[in-house]
Subunit: 322 residues, 2 copies
């Protein structure tokens, strides 16, 4: 019942930059409090709580970072993920879980008429900005998995591109790839800025609007569907997949990134628990099993799908052949 | 960052009475949804999430209770603890953790001038009603620990009696004990009702008002201080303990129930994490170590203190001799 205090304490520690303060060499709660400009009493209790949660170590009076917090929560680290806190603790997301009895009764979100699926919902700009650092590693792993370093002359459509990192990683690894990024107009501004930072703007085009209504153009060698299908029910997914199928060249591939639970739907814990996030924030989304995804792709005309792991990242990749 | 969804899902499951529905023999999500009058989709996702959290088992399509949830969350069980959800998810408590950065900066609660320590704060009536079932077992264990079955003619003062269960357990185990329960007036109505239910009303008197201002009378053989000291700073605790010392007969005992972390302040997890609850809801309270508590009792004139476990309950008992 008190688990919500864990989310709140981690968010507080990230906002106060406690992990960076410790990385800089402040070891006692007095020194950390001085660096973060807080009370000593509050910092002592927060640091002990972070030890209990496994985010810090404690030796006598000295606190230290774990390997994971040193890598991901020290603001000076290139792998810093603290910006994800802004999205993950945003009321647009957390409000979805204020009354779980109500969402279970209804079978979907109770926040508004369409929850986070409303056209141009501002949460997706925040998502694109906040979650990019967390997606840098899987983006590189996926580009490698699909063979981007081969250098083949690819036309790639990136649906619901968000921060754009998945398409951008392919463009960086494959100098002969051209990316077309589709998303809401305000979100595409974030993706374009990231493409410019990565030096791939010349091979980066955008397609603003709803993935369900925009004319994709094509034909493409590859269509990226990263963290998108889980927002919709299977019939809606199949409708989109038929459109994706039509936009692919013969032999082209759909590359899907999803939290894919095992067929028992309760393991592994992170992908399986993602169903609850979809219950709270969408009308009919879900974390689909591989057999459910494979069925959707076959119903949409694809020849078949393969499931790939990108460990240590908990999401999995589905490669589907036109 | 998503841990808050665990609190929300457990609260939702208790409110929908999912555990009772399963105990009654509803095993599939369709059957449980029918019994709890929810959508099937919502119930499937909730039940899978409860399996991931360890509150349910899953065999094929059938969900089952664990030994702990069968004992504590089936509404028909005499040990049912579901009522605690009302208190533990009450905004009066949870609002204290809306901004952990702010409470760490200040070093105490930011909800109002005195948080839950305001005179006659309504949270304590809710606490007395909701938390009684959770305290039934420790109350019996403590009455046994202090030797209530000896039948000695005890005068017992129960400070901040709340639901009254600690004094009532002593009165039930010792037919020659008389209890004086001190608390806010509205809270004492809950304690009196519980004393009547236990058949000990004839030996149950009340003393309404602040423990810091009321004349305790006395002299007493025993003073109960259950879950009270953690709300205050050590100087305030010592002030109260001097008053307790003066109200005890020579050789009398103070019986304190507290979450007592080890001297490292980060173990065991439940008592150690309680410091965060005090940071969020009080101005200067804490989960004190035994050495801190022992010092407060000595400073207040007590001869010495002993620490006792009442496993499997995570709180511990401090017996202090006048």
């Amino acid at each position: 019942m008190n688990a919500y205090q864990r989310s709140a304490a981690l968010a507080g520690a990230i906002r106060l930059d406690v992990f960076t303060a410790i990385a800089e060499g402040n070891a006692t709660f007095q020194a950390i409090a001085g660096r973060c400009q807080t009370s000593e009493r509050g910092m002592r209790i927060l640091c002990d709580y972070l030890v209990i949660m496994g985010f810090l170590t404690k030796q006598g009076a000295n606190y230290g970072l774990t390997p994971a917090t040193a890598l991901f929560l020290d603001r000076r680290s290139p792998a810093y993920l603290g910006s994800a806190e802004k999205f993950l603790s945003s009321p647009m997301l957390t409000d979805g879980f204020k009354d779980v009895a109500a969402i279970v009764r209804k079978g979907g979100e109770v926040m508004s008429s369409h929850g986070t699926m409303e056209p141009n919902h501002p949460i997706w700009v925040q998502f694109a900005q906040a979650m990019a650092p967390m997606m840098a590693m899987p983006a590189e792993l996926i580009a490698k998995l699909v063979g981007a370093p081969s250098g083949a002359g690819w036309q790639v459509l990136d649906i619901a591109a968000g921060h754009g990192l998945f398409g951008i990683a392919i463009a960086r690894q494959n100098p002969n790839a051209t990316i077309v990024a589709a998303d809401w107009p305000a979100v595409l501004e974030v993706a374009k800025a990231n493409a410019a930072k990565a030096g791939v703007s010349a091979r980066y085009a955008t397609l603003p609007g709803s993935a369900f209504e925009t004319d994709f153009g094509g034909a493409y060698d590859m269509v990226l569907l990263t963290n998108f299908l889980h927002h919709f029910d299977p019939a809606t997914c199949e409708k989109l997949l038929r459109k994706v199928h039509a936009a692919l060249k013969p032999g082209g591939r759909a590359v899907t990134l999803e939290f894919v639970p095992n067929e028992d739907r309760v393991s592994p814990p992170t992908p399986a628990a993602f169903s609850m996030v979809m219950l709270g924030t969408t009308e009919a989304g879900d974390a689909y099993t591989f057999s459910e995804l494979d069925r959707m792709f076959r119903n949409a005309g694809f020849a078949g799908s393969e499931l790939h792991s990108i460990e240590p990242f908990p999401s999995r990749v589905i490669l589907s052949q036109r």
